[in-house]
Amino acid sequence: MNPDPKKSKVLPSNLPNSNGSSHPHSLFPDEVLEKVLSLIDSHKDRNSVSLVCKDWYNAERWTRSNLFIGNCYSVSPEIVARRFAKIKSVRLKGKPRFSDFNMLPRDWGANVHSWLVMFAKAYPFLEELRLKRMTVSDESMELLAKSFPQFRALSLSSCDGFTDDGLKAITTHCGNLTELDIQDSVTVDVGGGWLSCFPENFSSLEILNFSSLNSEVSFEALEKLVSRCRSLRVLKVNENITLDQLQRLLVHAPLLTELSTGSFLQELTPRQYEDIESAFGNSKNLQVLSGLWDATSFYLPVLYGACSGLTFLNLSDAVLQSGELAKLLAHCPNLRRLWVIDTVEDKGLEAVGSSCPLLEELRVFPVDPYDLDHRHGVTEMGFLAVSRGCRKLRYVLYFCRRMTNAAVVTIVQNCPDFTHFRLCIMNPRQPDFLTNEPMDEAFGAVAKNCTKLRRLSVSGLLTDTTFEYIGKYAKNLETLSVAFAGSSDRGMQCVLEGCPKLRKLEIRDCPFGNAALLSGLKKYEMMRSLWMSACNLTMKGCRLLAREMPRLNVEVIKDDGSDEIQADKVYVYRSVAGPRQDAPSVVLTL
């Protein structure tokens, strides 16, 4: 009854005709179905399509070319290879997010190698690979470089494990490379020789990002590369590139849409100053600007000519004061996204509110996360000021040392469209600054007012009431991060019983125990993952969970010095691949 999965194409002569066949689907030829489906890109839509019926499942899997796997351990390479035939681009995510904050052992896993081995066999025409929080060895990079003749784009976000040798393999062998994007990858000194390995006639590069790599590259090689890659539109250099070097690069690439500068501090001659100023003035297409290490008020004005078209300004590497920020923002009326350091203080954020009416995203990072002087940084006043001026705000990440319930309530009344609300009051369990009460009402207001909320990070002193609110009102919530909060198991239970769209839940240092963990039995299979660390879980509870839900992987990471009873770090995720084989000894799979 079903078409043979091995069949490559449905020929017209094979079509069942309307009077001969037994099922209504035959009126809709597979060929047409496949053509229609090939227009569907969203993997969520495709997943829905594949659930309709077997015909559609098959049609979909033959036509899927973009593969997205949110947890590399939820499925195995073999299963993927069996199902999909024509994958051209892969997006793969590995470690849980808390690995960014050094909470996982070094060798925890998420090594991409086994995937690459499978891809080399099953998808030799692979063109794009985008990895997040995965370990990529030099060996893997060599395999990648040599196995896919049409390979075009490599993007590594928060990855580790590679050195200059691996990158050299990529730049030497991937003759069609259009994208090399290494972001936020925490590496030791990787080495900078890779950039010099692009062949002399190589000119296809469109995206180059090495801003987070520490090592010096040969500027001569970089300049030659930029001048011959006429389609280069994204250039993100590292801190070692100086201002006058940057000027020379800009002259070669006036069509850049995204730029990350190197160090923005250098003693310049008047001529050099003018040159860099006019180089920026000629960069009319710039939409995204970042880098700007050590930028001071003297050098920032060279940017002004390029600012009118900016939509994303990332100042998270530039320690600026409020006045400097205000002056810069006056030139950036079209800003949609802004990242700053909290040295700009509330006054700087007032300038944000008044200069950037189109702002949709704001991230404020602390200059010194461990600064004990509570007078520095931003407060609730700055956030309020932004909310008054930027009514379209939908994404905020805000690190502060004081906050009040009243402020947050007003903020979400000003800006009800929040989709991502990440508030980090840096002192754990800190109450409302003015009233000394818990911050329950603040996050209650967020949950109630922001109906489109998809991601929420809570902080401050919170009781179970917060989680009652969240469970009750946050109907679209997908990701929840909780730290140092809650009073009892009931808090976590409220969330698990409530939020219908919850996919990722990460919890640390909360008084949630086995009862809370087990209350979510049914839920975890509908979620991508659960992380709980420094809570009140025991091995007994985790084993119970593992026994009851065989399609969940329950992994416990043992810390040194912890006893046999407590489960310090627990990572639970659904998987069709069974327990993973590559877990290090500190990780127990129950």
């Binding site: 050094n102 290490w293 003297f298 320690v319 840096m426 640390r508 240092d509």
Partner: protein, 327 residues
């Protein structure tokens, strides 16, 4: 040329490279005349030991202080100068450590009679110096945090709140793994920002920013650590004490709560006083002190010079323009 061992009045020695005049000037600089003077006058402005007019270039520890002290005592009313200045600094340090060990209040009062009000005294010293001693925090960042002072009222309110709510004294808090949730690469970047700034600005590797202060007509120069001051008012009063035999203008007084001088202030001080305070910035230009926010000033100031008001008039128009263009 041997690098002289330099000791300041506190006795901290910080060998510094001899400053070279930079031949890189900025497009906006029109003070090439002044710069030439500063190049030519290097010899005169070099720190020297010995009595005025002496050719000796060597310095011995201790002579500097005693010479200054001796001279001061000869002038009426100046006998207190050095003493009060010393207590200004050391008293402040004592007061600060009292604050840590005692009530947990951050507020402190400076012995030594500075007229700066409580709000500014509170943040006289970056608590990072204390941070290092008191806990196991990762290395604190000198000087990165903003020195702009939020309103005094807010500061005082905050202290009251802290005491009321009974939070544990911040100085004793231990660092929690993975908290706050900041990415490692971000922390590294920020940690390296500060030393870079201070290296370029003050040519010192640690958390202090020593710059030479010269005064027209004075036979010898002083060295001050800009990091010990939080605002222009403090710098002004310190310099007043240091060079109190000469008149320094009233430019500092109008700065409470403001970051910079308005046009009228500048004109007031230029017309009203005999001397003005100027500084050489990173680009080799001589600027009027008080134009820019304090933090920006400490980042860019290489040396200070107390000039006769008449000489400084030449600076004013350009400064005015900068003032206007910046506002």
């Amino acid at each position: 040329m041997s690098i002289p061992q330099e000791h300041d009045y506190i006795g901290l020695s910080e060998p510094l490279p001899v400053e070279k005049s930079s031949d890189k000037i900025l497009p906006s600089s029109s003070a090439s005349g002044i710069e030439k003077n500063s190049v030519l006058n290097l010899r005169e402005t070099e720190l020297r030991l010995g009595l005025p007019g002496s050719e000796s270039l060597e310095r011995k520890a201790g002579n500097w202080v005693s010479l200054f002290g001796k001279d001061l005592k000869d002038e009426s009313g100046n006998g207190l100068c050095q003493g009060s200045l010393k207590s200004f600094v050391s008293g402040a340090k004592r007061g600060f450590s009292d604050a840590i060990n005692g009530s947990g209040k951050w507020g402190l009062s400076i012995s030594g009679g500075s007229e700066v009000d409580l709000g500014k005294n509170d943040v006289l010293f970056s608590p990072r110096g204390v941070c290092k001693g008191n806990n196991t925090m990762q290395s604190c960042l000198p000087g990165t945090s903003v020195k702009e002072i939020s309103s005094v009222k807010a500061v005082e309110e905050e202290e009251e709140k802290k005491n009321e709510s009974g939070n544990t004294a911040p100085a004793s808090k231990a660092q929690v793994v993975g908290w706050p949730p900041i990415r490692s690469f971000r922390k590294n970047t920020l940690a390296t920002n500060s030393p870079k700034n201070s290296e370029v600005a003050g040519k010192s590797g640690s958390g202090c920013l020593y710059v030479k202060v010269s005064m027209e007509g004075a036979p010898y120069l002083r060295k001050i650590d800009l990091k010990t001051y939080r605002c222009y008012a403090e710098l002004s009063s310190a310099l007043e004490k240091m060079f109190s035999c000469f008149t320094i203008g009233q430019y500092g007084q109008g700065l409470a709560g403001q970051e910079r001088l308005s046009e009228s202030h500048l004109m007031d001080l230029l017309h009203g006083s005999e001397y003005v305070l100027t500084y050489e910035d990173k680009d080799g230009d001589w600027m009027l002190v008080g134009d820019v926010p304090w933090e920006m000033f400490t980042d860019s100031c290489k040396r200070l010079r107390i000039m006769k008001g008449s000489d400084a008039i030449g600076l004013a128009p350009r400064t005015m323009q900068k003032c206007k263009s910046q506002n």
